[in-house]
């Protein structure tokens, strides 16, 4: 366990080197929130609510989704893993008693601590502008179920990124796959619009996809868009997806290693 603790600490240090990149990303986040504010402000103009929710509730949803991305979203883990494979750096892990998934998960956790810190800073800077438009529910169960949902979301996000990164065992260039998947994840993950605005049948179908649990699900629990029954059922589906994706990551890793040729001294 200690070795992964060290990996976490080294991950913290190396991510702090790129603190300006995180700071710049936080600034983009602020502008992205301005776009959301203007667009959804225009959508809600003259209406008490849409899909059963007010403008404040919808804006709160987006703010929570964005903050969650800083704390539990996978940013460029897929790229880092693919670089490890492409450059042969993966070889050093094959020669040591280190589980590559656990190592990468430790580094991912460290990166999210740093990006989460900058996310909170960005939120603090944005709050004076948006405070009057935020509307968070106060039921205690939302936090009790929201936190495990967030943890499972982190596992799902990381596992998907890990699987895409491992494609570098077979493909020289994986960025196309990654950005392709990003489009699907953003759409079906609820980052473009709250998924409950979809037609009922489409929403019910989306519930059984892993993307649903990448952003929408924890945000919907925390912001009051879904009730306790939905949250409990969702947690079960989310846990199943987390398990499936971790197993899939392990399977791809094993197959990839069979395909891998370690060259050089």
């Amino acid at each position: 366990m200690t070795k992964y603790g060290h990996a976490f600490v080294i991950g913290l240090q190396s991510n702090l080197i790129y603190r300006w990149n995180f700071a710049v990303r936080s600034l983009f986040w602020f502008f992205h929130l301005v776009v959301v504010f203007i667009l959804w402000g225009a959508v809600f103009a003259g209406k008490a609510g849409i899909g059963g929710f007010t403008f404040a509730q919808t804006l709160t949803y987006f703010v929570v989704v964005f903050i969650l991305q800083f704390f539990i979203g996978a940013f460029n883990e897929d790229y880092q893993i693919s670089e490890d494979i492409r450059n042969g750096l993966i070889n050093q892990f094959l020669l040591k008693p280190i589980n590559y998934f656990a190592y990468r998960l430790s580094v991912f956790a460290a990166a999210r601590v740093v990006s989460g810190f900058f996310g909170v800073l960005a939120l603090a800077a944005a709050l004076p502008f948006f405070r009057g438009y935020l509307d968070l529910p106060h039921e205690g169960w939302r936090l009790a179920l929201g936190l495990p949902a967030m943890a499972l979301t982190a596992v799902i996000q990381f596992s998907i990124a890990y699987c895409f990164g491992l494609l570098a065992f077979w493909f020289l260039e994986i960025q196309g796959f990654v950005i392709l998947s990003m489009a699907v994840e953003n759409l079906l993950g609820g980052q473009i619009f709250p998924l409950d605005l979809l037609p009922h049948a489409a929403f019910n179908a989306a519930r059984f996809l892993p993307f649903f649990y990448q952003a929408y699900f924890p945000a919907a629990i925390l912001t009051g868009r879904q009730g306790i029954d939905f949250a409990v059922q969702g947690l079960a589906i989310q846990a199943a997806w987390a398990f499936i994706l971790v197993c899939l990551a392990e399977a791809i890793w094993r197959r990839g290693l069979r395909h891998h040729t370690a060259a050089g001294g």
Binding site: Y18, W20, N21, V24, R25, F28, F31, H32, V34, V35, I38, L39, G41, A42, V43, A45, K47, I50, G51, E173, G176, F177, I179, L180, A183, V184, N186, L187, I192, F193, L197, L198, P199
Partner: protein, 266 residues
Amino acid sequence: METLSRYLRIWFASARYSLVRATMFRGDLFIWALVEFFWISVNVVMIGVIYSHTALVAGWNMYEMMILVGTSMLIQRFLMAFFWSGIFEMGRNVRNGLFDFILAQPGDPLFMASTRKLELDGLINSFVAASLVVYSAAKLGLRPGVGDIALYAAMVACGVVIHFGALVIAMSLAFWITSSQGVEGSYFTLMEFSRLPKEAFHRGLVSVVFVWILPAVVVSNAPARVLLHGFQASWAAWLGAATLCWFALSVLVFRLGLRRYTSASS
């Protein structure tokens, strides 16, 4: 005239090389074409979902909004096709010293850096974005004349120049901050505003910054309005002025940055 012809020859040579390369990596071309198509689809789905709950957004109906978003995407696809790769790689090349290779080439460094690659996937998807505009115009029963279409095309070209300027300015930061990783995000963030109708901006400072100071709104709203409402002199003048300003500013920033470039070889 001779200079123009020389640069055209250089560009054709780069374009021919890019096309040959694209046909060698057909799988890659297919994936990237699919990527761009998916992102266009994401925007269309978003519009569809929003308009399933409301008839108008800032006074624009669904097909008018699709013309706006389609125009914004069309401009972006052209940028992706003609300039993106070269400018994006510029940031990386400045850091690792490979920019020497550009400086050694027989032409203006900004031209050589930005036109090195022609991306076929962006070009393919510009047809998808254009189809979205044509489909939406047909749904609205619009019958633009040849003049309107020519003006629309000219305004889209102005939009590409403005996008080019914004991206060059963003990536030129590499001359100062060395690592430009993620800086391209500033371009995408800025251009997110181009998918919004001007009428949605009615809150003080935001409107001043994103409508009047930065070119994010005019770049897509001006051409879309030509199709929807015909020629409007104020929008044309505004777009023309923004094009000149942003192109000049990008050349200035690039040249200032170039003075700081010290290579990276050992």
